[in-house]
Point group: C2
Chain length 197, copies 2
């Protein structure tokens, strides 16, 4: 049944065409016609894979989330909790072009939220998943004795999550900040090992 596989592959190629367009020309330049041209298709062909624009945008955002989630999951088997946490969280920082474009796509499509409300729901899910990842990392670190016992995990999750997304937001727009972002993340995890007062 190679038909359906080709179908999915094609949809991914089209989704990546949306990404390139968002990155290069902004989300305002995304139309069914421009996406078709970017993907090397004709309008009618693209509309066979994505009958409506809403489906196309939702797929493009979901694809970015899935790619990121797959990279994060790849580090699940790392033994040391600290190394595992750093490896996972770094996948959510725009440290290379692949991660940068995912970040741009996520934010750009989020800005289209009110129009296509499915995008808002997708973004909510992704945000909640990242918060859950942060909590998991902190829980593992605490269980391994690498976080002071008097830390409030919920609050630390809020802080780590915000720090992560804030670093991503800045590094996304200035690649020179990539090193600083990774260092800031490391330093923060270091600081958690020390008792509070």
């Amino acid at each position: 049944m190679p038909r359906t596989i080709d179908h999915d592959e094609r949809r991914q190629l089209i989704g990546e065409a949306v990404w390139r367009l968002v990155l290069r020309e902004g989300v305002g330049a995304v139309s069914l016609r421009t996406v078709a041209a970017e993907a090397g298709l004709v309008l009618g062909s693209l509309r066979h894979s994505f009958p409506t624009k809403a489906e196309l945008l939702a797929f493009a955002m979901r694809l970015a989330h899935e790619r990121a989630a797959a990279r994060v999951a790849r580090h699940r088997r790392v033994r040391d909790p600290r190394r595992r946490a750093v490896a996972a969280l770094r996948e959510l920082l725009p440290l290379d072009d692949e991660r940068t474009v995912e970040m741009h796509v996520h934010l750009a499509l989020l800005a289209e939220g009110p129009r296509h409300q499915e995008l808002t729901a997708l973004a909510d899910d992704a945000q909640e998943a990242i918060r859950a990842l942060c909590l998991q990392c902190l829980t593992d670190l605490r269980d391994a004795g690498q976080i002071a016992a008097d830390r409030h995990l919920g609050r630390e999750t809020t802080t780590l999550h915000a720090l992560l997304d804030g670093l991503a937001l800045h590094a996304m727009r200035d690649p020179r900040l990539r090193r600083a972002a990774t260092r800031a993340l490391d330093d923060h995890l270091d600081a958690l090992a020390r008792p509070l007062p």
Copy 2:
């Protein structure tokens, strides 16, 4: 010469109409016609104040930045450095609807960046200004002995800036996080007072 004053006031009213549209329907719904309708004007009238769409978008973003900067500046005379820092930084968290809409406008128009490159420049300026504010706050706190001397101010600025924007990003989308965001900011400043190792 009340003419020019009315002119500026009108431009601000139009800019706020852009804000409402961005918040309610998304940046994709911003056109000269929809903005004119939102502002209670006819297309021709709006185009007298803003001949092109690029000017309108740039003004709307600049207006958001200026409003925020004015609120920040209002706390300059607070004596205690810690209180001054908290007061200033809180003006950049979406703790009420006014600050929330500014945040949304900033991010939404940033997503239009590649098309209207002036928006990118404006966002860069705003981001640099916020970083400078973070550095100023940290410098003042250190001079007042409220930051451990072994802290690296540059790195702490990166972290504070990222934490601030990350908290804003999250609280913007879920008002329930407003309290958590303010607490996280307070806690972070508290933590800076303790020595590193």
